[in-house]
């Protein structure tokens, strides 16, 4: 598929294309509906580019191989859905701990357990934030169109490389399997970020030493730096420690390197917000319908605003506090039993009421469901 040409593309394929555009050359995965097309696409495309595709024995092995390739020097990715994402959790935590840049795609389906393999859901939103044990700060992006999926996948890689951390792309069955006409940008059109490399002599290198922005340069394997990576809490050299000040230093670093850069990471789309009294907050495939509803409501003279969380984690606290300052009602629409709504409740002023619009039967909201909810709130 040449860039520039308008073509019919599936969301999962746009994700694969975006990853390759961002420089992903290593993919390890395990088949699972509704994400499998990403693996199939990588199996076809990566060997042509001198990259590597491997179908591992399970999802635990997949994320392990991805982290192995990432620390050895590659941009690496895996894609899965709920059950596989659950299996990956321990090693996603390992990636947070050793600060390995990598990208995990979760094409969400209904859960818990095997759930609804072929039906849409957004019920892994909180798992992305809290799925692995321990304290850490997560980054997750949530595209809403096929075109978005391409550019947000590039952004996910850029964030992973910039902040040396795993980044989750939250897709869902609808966006993953949906096909739209898109034309991909030419190479060079979109910014691609690469991790910084150490410039010091190997003997002076500290894998996790003090830095201005909390992110350390990361050497390629085989160049003499011989750093030690461990899931054990470690000191500036990467060696295990249980000294209280070093433990606190490490955990603070994991948090600060993301929270201090919220404005750089968080992306929020806001429409019709100037005088909005009722605000629709959504993310992922749901946002398209929400935007139309805001537009329709405005046409009918009802002051409805629209906010789309393009970055779900870290939760865009500052931007949302500012945007929701004057709202009377906030309707948080999600395809789950109410997950991100709790984050919204935590940040609104006392004069703002927060409502949930929920659906968890395996389908997306219709415009009528949104309109009915707004009516209910207005009464």
């Amino acid at each position: 598929m040449p860039p520039g040409k308008r073509q019919l593309v599936m969301g999962n394929m746009a994700c694969m294309r975006g990853a390759i555009y961002a420089g992903m050359r290593f993919y390890a995965g395990y088949p699972i509906t509704p994400s499998t097309e990403i693996a199939e696409g990588c199996a076809r495309e990566l060997p042509k580019l001198g990259g590597r595709f491997i179908q591992m024995e399970d999802e635990i092995a997949s994320i392990s191989a991805v982290i192995g390739a990432a620390v050895a020097g590659s941009k690496a990715m895996t894609a899965t859905s709920g059950p596989g994402y659950s299996l990956m959790q321990e090693n996603i935590g390992y990636a947070y701990m050793i600060e390995a840049p990598c990208v995990v795609v979760n094409v969400q389906r209904g859960g818990p357990s095997t759930g609804l393999p072929t039906k849409v859901s957004q019920s892994d939103t909180m798992q992305v934030r809290w799925g692995t044990h321990g304290d850490y700060t997560a980054i997750a992006v949530a595209p809403s169109t096929v075109e978005d999926t391409f550019t947000e996948t590039i952004r996910a890689f850029n964030l992973a490389e910039r902040f040396r951390t795993p980044v989750t792309i939250l897709l869902d069955e609808v966006i993953g399997h949906m096909q739209e006409m898109v034309s991909f940008p030419e190479p060079g059109e979109c910014e691609v970020v690469d991790r910084t490399r150490p410039t010091c002599v190997p003997s002076a290198y500290m894998a996790y030493g003090p830095t201005k922005n909390c992110v350390n340069p990361m050497p390629v394997y085989g160049q003499g730096y011989r750093w030690y990576a461990t899931g054990l809490t470690h000191d500036g050299y990467g060696f295990p420690t249980d000294k209280p000040d070093e433990v606190v230093g490490k955990l603070d670093k994991l948090r600060n390197k993301i929270e201090h850069y919220e404005s750089e990471i968080c992306k929020v789309r806001a429409e019709y917000m100037d005088d909005a009294e009722i605000v629709l907050v959504s993310y992922g495939s749901v946002s398209r319908t929400a935007l139309q509803v805001a537009k329709l409501a405005r046409g009918a003279g009802v002051k409805v605003g629209f906010i789309q969380l393009q970055t779900v984690w870290p939760f865009p606290l500052k931007q949302l506090r500012e945007l929701l300052g004057n709202a009377k009602h906030v309707i948080v629409a999600e395809l789950n039993m109410g997950q991100i709504v709790g984050e919204v409740e935590r940040i609104v002023q006392s004069g703002t009421r927060v409502h949930s619009l929920l659906r968890y039967d395996g389908d997306i909201f219709t415009p009528m469901q949104f309109l009915a909810k707004i009516e209910e709130v207005r009464k």
């Binding site: 590597r52 050895a72 030690y228 054990l232």
Partner: protein, 288 residues
């Protein structure tokens, strides 16, 4: 050999080992005095040194357990991963960077219990990774629980009345799964260990060296076998380069430890080579 010559040899040997230890790490190490893990570590160093492999090309990958702590002491690129997953991580390192020498350090619990699936699939792929499996028949780090290699009847803290389960033979398992180099030795047989590790590293394909080791702290104590020296003597007595008697007519044969190279297939194709051929042929197809 005179005593003076022996001492000079030992000094030379320890000079080699010292060159490969990490300058930032505090010694003594975390292992119990007399633990076989240190014996394996020094053997690995000697093997790499003798082979003349550039130090920066070596990557040590390990999981969780006493033996998996080895890479923290050795001054090579190191990836100390999660429990059981060392081979899966190593697969990512090796498959993305076939130019690196990837060596996995693992134990019987790490490799054969929680990591058993990754072991058989790494063997099946015949990916060029050398795995040193240090088998001490027990979980040491967590304090003496039964492992997949704990002998029938043997005591562990989770088999207080004797083990009622059957055991994995790691080498048989690897053979069945498709590994192309398989060897066994014990921590008593250090000269043989040096040679086997060297041969395993030189072998192109998946290589497994099972090193029978002593956990006198737990296995020795719980089974009243004794201290490190008694366990080493046991390894000395039971080791044989002859294969086991398949009919087990001889009672002693059951406990025998077959050492040396158990299986070697130099014809079997290796994963990274095969994939490289594929990428080369696709690139060629594009250019023509």
């Amino acid at each position: 050999m005179s005593i003076a010559a022996k001492e000079a040899g030992a000094r030379q040997d320890s000079d080699v080992v010292l060159r490969y230890l990490r300058p930032h790490v505090k010694f003594p190490n975390m292992w119990c005095p007399g633990c076989g893990n240190g014996v394996v570590a020094t053997s690995l160093i000697r093997a790499i040194d003798k082979l003349g492999i550039p130090r920066d090309n070596v990557v040590l990958v390990s999981g969780i357990g006493c033996s998996s702590r080895m890479p923290v002491y050795l001054d090579f690129q190191a990836l100390h991963t999660t429990h059981g997953r060392a081979l899966a991580f190593a697969t990512g390192v090796k498959f993305s960077r076939p130019d690196l020498k990837v060596i996995v350090i693992t134990g019987d619990g790490d490799c054969l219990s929680i990591g058993g699936n990754h072991l058989i699939h790494a063997c099946r792929r015949n990916i060029d990774i050398t795995t040193i499996l240090i088998n001490n028949y027990i979980y040491g780090m967590t304090g003496g629980q039964t492992s997949p290699t704990t002998p029938a009847g043997a005591h562990a803290t989770t088999t207080p009345f004797g083990n009622t389960e059957k055991q994995f033979e790691a080498c048989d398992l690897a053979r069945g799964a498709g590994a192309s180099f398989i060897a066994r030795t014990t921590v008593y047989h250090t000269t043989q260990m040096d040679r086997l590790i060297m041969e395993a590293i030189q072998h192109r394909g998946f290589s497994l060296v099972e090193v029978i080791s002593n956990c006198h702290t737990y296995y020795g104590r719980l089974n009243r076998v004794g201290q490190a020296t008694q366990l080493l003597r046991m390894f000395q007595e039971k080791a044989s380069t002859q294969p086991k008697d398949p009919n087990m007519v001889d009672e002693d044969s059951k406990d025998m430890i077959q050492t040396g190279i158990i299986h070697r297939d130099t014809e079997k194709t290796e994963l990274c080579d095969e994939y490289q051929k594929l990428t080369d042929s696709l690139a060629k197809g594009k250019s023509s």
